[in-house]
């Protein structure tokens, strides 16, 4: 009844006002704007399709935006969260908890159960917007305990050469202490087995780095013939995104040193889906390098 009286009073006053106010008819009397955490949860739920995060948002958190002559956009933050999580995961069932805010004048928000269902059925077509976490990301990452180490790891994963970790490696690789420590790493040498192919360990990756820098085929042979590395730039080359680490190491050392004998150590990996130079291709590469280098 209170809401109805407010709405009637509002309608009577509307012609007198220049910039129109609005009344939300079904929001709690103690509603409040969403806080930083709640905005962040909405973005993460949307990006990762995780509706469970939406329940962390208070039911009285109401987002109002775009006030003024163009109308009001009002929504429950928790419903906004479910809306974008449902769109991301294309799960109509996640539209169920959505509640719309009824406002006078007309609420122009799209956050409603019916729009959610329709957009999910339309595969999200024509709906490009999604909330982003960037306004509060730095603070939230710190609050969650993410450290520089995590950031460096991410950068290393994206570009194994241009990052803080590689720069550190480059600064110590010439030192005797570092080389001794890498040489002391355990060996992964074993027999080749097509059914035992696996991603390279980071110890193998480090061993390969120093092996190539030092032109050390002996170090290459501490790498398992069953290990492969993901191609650093392989996202656009899915068919050759896995590279045989040991073979690549031997081929590089052979090319650098001009010693084609190391090519004979390359293990054929045909039909495994792992990219590798063959022994013949390795020898050709050595010959080409020799011609170019005047060996």
């Amino acid at each position: 009844m209170k809401h109805v009286r407010m709405a009637l009073a509002f309608l009577l006053l509307l012609p007198l006002g220049g910039c129109a106010p609005h009344v939300n008819l079904n929001t709690p009397s103690d509603w409040r704007p969403p806080n930083e955490h709640e905005v962040f949860y909405t973005a993460i739920a949307a990006d990762f399709g995780e509706p469970g995060l939406c329940e962390k948002i208070a039911g009285r958190a109401v987002d109002e935006s775009n006030p003024g002559m163009r109308g009001w956009v009002v929504s429950y933050q928790r419903s906004t969260c479910y809306f974008y999580a449902a769109l991301k995961a294309r799960k109509e069932a996640w539209c169920e908890p959505i509640r719309s805010v009824i406002a006078i004048p007309w609420n122009k928000s799209n956050i409603s159960k019916s729009v959610c269902r329709q957009v999910v059925r339309d595969q999200g077509q024509g709906y490009g917007y999604s909330p982003d976490p960037f306004s509060y990301l730095d603070g939230m990452m710190k609050e969650m305990g993410y450290s520089d180490e995590d950031r460096y790891e991410g950068q290393y994963s994206l570009n194994p050469v241009n990052n803080e970790v590689y720069r550190f490696y480059a600064s110590v690789r010439e030192t005797a202490a570092f080389r001794a420590r890498v040489h002391d790493l355990p060996t992964y040498a074993e027999a080749f087995a097509a059914d035992r192919l696996r991603p390279a360990t980071d110890q193998e990756v480090l061993t390969q780095l120093l092996a190539i820098d030092d032109s050390s085929a002996e170090l290459c042979q501490k790498i398992s013939p069953n290990s492969f590395a993901e191609d650093w730039y392989g996202s656009d080359r899915p068919s050759s995104s896995k590279i045989a680490l040991r073979n690549a190491c031997l081929a590089s050392v052979a090319a650098k040193t001009g010693q084609a004998a190391w090519c004979a150590k390359i293990i054929p990996l045909k039909s495994t889906g792992i990219y590798s130079l063959s022994t013949e291709e390795c020898r050709t590469s050595v010959a080409v390098q020799a011609r170019q280098g005047g060996r």
Partner: protein
């Protein structure tokens, strides 16, 4: 699988980073390019778990 950073730490280098501010990756790039795309499912799962452990609001 141990991370590459972990391997260097195991070798005795507690802070195996050589910072270069002009090339430093901020958290936004970490989120966009690594966490949202490149990171494996386990890294993504741990991130969502850490978000879930942040405060909930009922008021």
């Amino acid at each position: 699988m141990a991370s590459f950073v972990d391997v260097l730490q195991q070798l005795g280098y507690s802070k195996p980073f050589l910072d270069s501010p002009p090339n430093r990756m901020g958290w936004s790039d970490y989120y966009i390019y690594y966490l949202s795309h490149r990171a494996d499912a386990e890294v993504k799962r741990r991130f969502v778990e850490r978000v879930a452990a942040l405060p909930s609001f009922s008021k």
